[in-house]
Amino acid sequence: MLKKSIAIALALLLVMGMLAGCGQQSGQQQQGGEKEQGPKEIAFTISAEVPSLDPQKATDTYAILVGHHIFEGLVRVHNGEIKPGMAETWEISDDKTTYTFHLRDAKWSDGKPVTAYDFEYAIKRLLDPNTASEYAFQGYYIVNGEEYNTGKITDPDQIGVKALDEKTLQIKLKTPVKYFLSLLNFISFYPVRQDFVEEMGEKFAADADKLLYNGPFILKEWKHEQELVLEKNPNYWDKDSINIDKVTIYIVNDANTAWQMYENGETDWEFIPAELVEQVDSEGRAMYFYDGSEFYLQFNVKREGKPWLANENFQRAVGFAIDREALIKAVMKGVSEPATRYVLPQLEGLEKTFAEEYPYEFYSKNADVDKAKEYLQKAMQELGISDPSKMTFEYLTDDTQRAKLTAEFIQDQLEKNLGIKMTVKQVPFKQRLELMTKMDYDVVFAGWGPDYNDPMTYLDLWVTGGGHNDTGWSNKEYDELIQFAKTTTDFKARADALFEAEKLLVEHGPIIPIYFRQRAWSCNDRVKGLVTNFIGATFDFVYADVE
């Protein structure tokens, strides 16, 4: 039953790209209808306080969610489609490195116009080392962006971003970046106004009245740790397309509490706690979407005293010994998709998704014990080891309940199927990252979420000396493929190279994909036109409506 509905949900996802709204009606269709009585209100919960809404300092998923609705970048991505935002039109040069944007007449919430200077200031602010922005790397595509941020140059005017006049903005990139337009929808590139930022100083963005808004909504109230209240922005250029008048976002840490609020009708949509998915699904109220995260096992190939960790056949043996489908069924209650390849299937290819254009399945959904044993035999021969139980390793993971269950499942599978003894080390999140950075681990259960809609966001992690490559793995061919993909203007050749790189990584690299995460959620029927995304704002209610 559950499997079937997931299959249907999956089919829907594949057909409709990322769309998975309640009702799936676009908001614009509602436009022009008669005005209903009373303000239209919706409410939902987020699980933690938004640490910062300062566009250039914000990093977390809730800031991205809220920011998507209260700010607007040069473009607006809605339902996977790039639409004009603050920029009405734009031109891209033939070498695909110079972008010229022409801004529309739009206003900040205090009535002053949004100008190209606000964007220039925002991007320079993002890259300014004194802003100490964690996501400054998003600006490294721009000429001299990285150099300025890392202090190699000190003159901000050398950065490749310039307001030619109030209405025209020019951005120069180092290399052609296929996904640059959609990247401009990312929170780090939202505009801020210099005079306001400087007036607020350290207090900028600390409260609702210490921010300026140019998006469809304004932040009316921000009761820290409690709730955020958004209201329709009367100054928004496209305000006629916006149907919702008021949005209340409650901050509720506990997933079960949040779910009960939804069940009591206090909120309009909610994630379903794993334990309840089966029940809610049987009532026909469950929906599913990919949230973009992928989880995999990552081997430390430079581990002293444990040469098997660097052995390709050993890695493959572990990969084939794990029953991904059973893991998902038991730990995630069927929500998520077994990862038989590395690149997230939803990511954009040339025309369709990358996965459709380059179908590939290396690992099986269920455990393939025979294949696993075969690989293990090869590994043992190569290493000169006769007893598989000698090839122990420690599995590093987070301290959450789910992480523990996953670890216990994998532990049992490896012992049962291969006779490999694996111990588990659970540590707090920061400590896990620290151990990974120092390469002080054997195997780690790690995850990655996409920064932009392109396979590169997953693949460029593993180049030699890459900032996130904590495996010690180094492959010259792989490095060359990625380097080629990053510089070529031939997007077909680029996609081919990325696919070659993916195969190389899955078949010879230190990464064993386990699953692509899905989230199960439920939504009140009265809400129409709500969109879920696997990248950017998890929920997009810009054009949503209520009955």
Partner: protein
Amino acid sequence: MQVSNSEITQEMFEHVGKNVSQMEAIARPSLTYWQDAWRRLKQNKVAMLGLIIIILYTILALVGPYMTPYDYRTTNTDEIDQPPSAKHWFGTDTLGRDLWARTWMGARVSLAIGFLSAVLNAFIGVIIGGISGYFGGKVDMIIMRAIDILYAIPYMIIVILMMVVLGQGIMPLVVAMIAVGWLGMARLVRGQILQLKEQEFVLAAKVLGASHSRIIFKHLIPNALGVILVNLTMSVPSAIFTEAFLSFIGLGVVPPQSSWGQLAYYGIQSFRVRPYQLFIPAFFISTTMLSLNLLGDGLRDALDPRLRS
């Protein structure tokens, strides 16, 4: 013997002579303090029930996992989330593991953590509290302020640091619990000693030339033992609770081990659809607490000399 009512004759009496052996005999059996306490504890049915339950759980923790053919670690995805049945007495968990086996393996962890940390806490607390109370003055002030400080250091920091240094597992947990667990006991013992040290028997011991350590450990502590024991039984539940709380924030025992706290924490998330996954571990946590509290109450009554009859 039929005799007329007013007549008392000599025949009615018999000379028995001195019976030396019976003269010095003590009519009531001679009982030490402990024997007496044990006698009175035995009369306290509620406290005995508590004791029996604890003993029962301890035995089950030792043999329980072997009473079923299922291993506490073995997952089985064909049998996930089964309700209690003849096959799986307590049902199975989300990975299809037998919950009877996991409950009693968890009991080992919870009870071990509970008793071990309680005993070690008491040991440290008694020594430090005894010294603080007996010497008083500056020593007392410094120790008491040190306790204030330790009390205010966020507990999680200590637990995480212990795990960094010692790794994950039962021992680091116990050490982390001891690091701050002795504070309450030390305070309590200090209070008792402050009262006791003014009493005559201490003066007598001093006059007889007893050393400080002899006075503390041979005279003062034994007199405070009742209170100490009671507190000890109460601190077992609090250690089990602390482990449960640490599971709640993700700092528990190492997989695939379980503990009652872990089981209950998982059960909380599923109790709407599978109440047994919460109620079984919660039942054992609660009845252990209950038993230890009842036993503690009973011990206090039994050890109180004023209530001796």
